[in-house]
Symmetry: C2
Subunit: 228 residues, 2 copies
DNA sequence: CCAGTGTTCCACAAAATTTTGGAGGATGTG
DNA sequence: CACATCCTCCAAAATTTTGTGGAACACTGG
């Protein structure tokens, strides 16, 4: 009971899961999968990887139990294994952001934020605030992610308006109503860009704090299916 | 905003934290540190590592922001950086246990459990049950970890009775009262062994569900300091 | 200031992971 | 059945990580 060799074996086994999240590309794949299932082909393209390399990384994630697969015809769709995996990913991101200055720097750089500028509180809406306003119909919520991700899961009542199409479909938005845009999560640029675009057009717009990932983890309800 | 290179850089940075928990020996070190601060020397001995190897692993953990150091005279004590790190560790362990059959096998093997035998529910006490009984003074709670760990943090009202000393100090236990033993956490063997030993001596004993790690994460109060 | 202890830094060899291209398997289509 | 598509498996090359001694460094006590 409890000898050296078995102890090492146990920790090595757990480390397999750690190793799986110990590679930037695999985290990127996981980040994509959190938004919905995808084929190997799509994942490879989105993460800028060769097909075989992507496949190899996905095998590592699969053997660590973090993702599952589903075959449909000739394609194989990958998916995160469950909410616990999303929680692990989020916790990893939280620790990284809170504890490592380089991570914050890289994030600010990626999001194009000026770390010296004070955060503009009025540009963000909390989840609670959004729910309250949405109940009264006082706000238009737009999901600026690609349509497939919207279809997989979205904030109840939100409309799909992918960033690509936003500029040409400004007319679809109701007049004189505040717009709240959201995207994948805390590290997603789409909503930032959407809000900038809307502001340039004189539309009063705000960004939802974080995004779908955190909405999910908060245990808030989610809708799925085709756009209305 | 949001170009390929910066995205890769961001995920690679986050992966540094993932890599840190992607090695069995580092997990073992983390597991020790969760129970309290320790010098490099002690850590190396406990994890069965060379001094320089242990030091190297600790550097990786430190650069990932998972542990902090404190100098006291000639020694350097390592410590986990915060509750968020413990939460990450626990989440990793939970996912590993739930999602990977090999992890469960390794755990059962390490703990000496028979995976085919039904779990003996009566052998375990939940945290809630323990708190209720402890309030009435109907139970003797013993902490069977090494004394330093007890001193660093323990369940309020528990007595320190390290497994090493248990056999010779049976007389210290009050007669005719149930004994509940606990140790480090779900993967710690000490409490299992303590309960076995007590049963052999005819003492009615049970094991606390999980251990100090989970107690901590449940947000329950903790005491520290010398043994009473 | 010197000796001694505890720890980190450095450099090298060993081991593991990642990438890549090609072969091969499963499924669907004409 | 032949053929196309999508993906996995395999093996070799490129890159990282790990383990291990010795040198260097920081602090303490004399």
């Amino acid at each position: 009971m409890g000898d050296r060799q078995k102890k090492t074996e146990l920790f090595d086994q757990i480390a397999r899961v750690g190793k799986a999240v110990g590679n930037g590309k695999r985290l990127e794949l996981l980040d994509l999968l959190v938004q919905g299932e995808r084929s190997v082909e799509k994942l490879a393209a989105a993460a800028d990887l060769g097909l075989t390399t992507a496949s190899a990384h996905l095998q590592v994630l699969r053997q660590a139990g973090l993702v599952t697969t589903r075959r449909e015809g000739t394609k194989i769709y990958y998916n995160v294994a469950g909410l616990d995996v999303i929680r692990l990913y989020e916790q990893l991101r939280a620790v990284a952001t809170d504890r490592v200055a380089d991570v914050r720097r890289a994030r600010d750089d990626y999001l194009g934020l000026d770390p010296t500028a004070p955060v503009d509180q009025t540009a963000e809406t909390s989840r609670e605030e959004l729910l309250a306003k949405a109940a009264d119909g006082r706000v238009t919520v737009i999901d600026v992610r690609p349509r497939e991700e919207y279809e997989f899961a979205h904030v109840p009542g939100a409309r799909s308006l992918p960033l690509d199409e936003l500029a040409e479909r400004l007319g679809d938005l109701p007049e004189d109503q505040e717009v709240v845009a959201y995207c994948r999560g805390a590290y997603c640029v789409l909503a930032y860009e959407a809000v900038n675009l809307l502001h340039d057009q004189g539309v009063p717009a705000r960004r939802l704090q974080d995004g779908m990932l955190e909405w999910h983890l908060s245990g808030l309800p989610v809708e799925n299916g085709q756009a209305a």
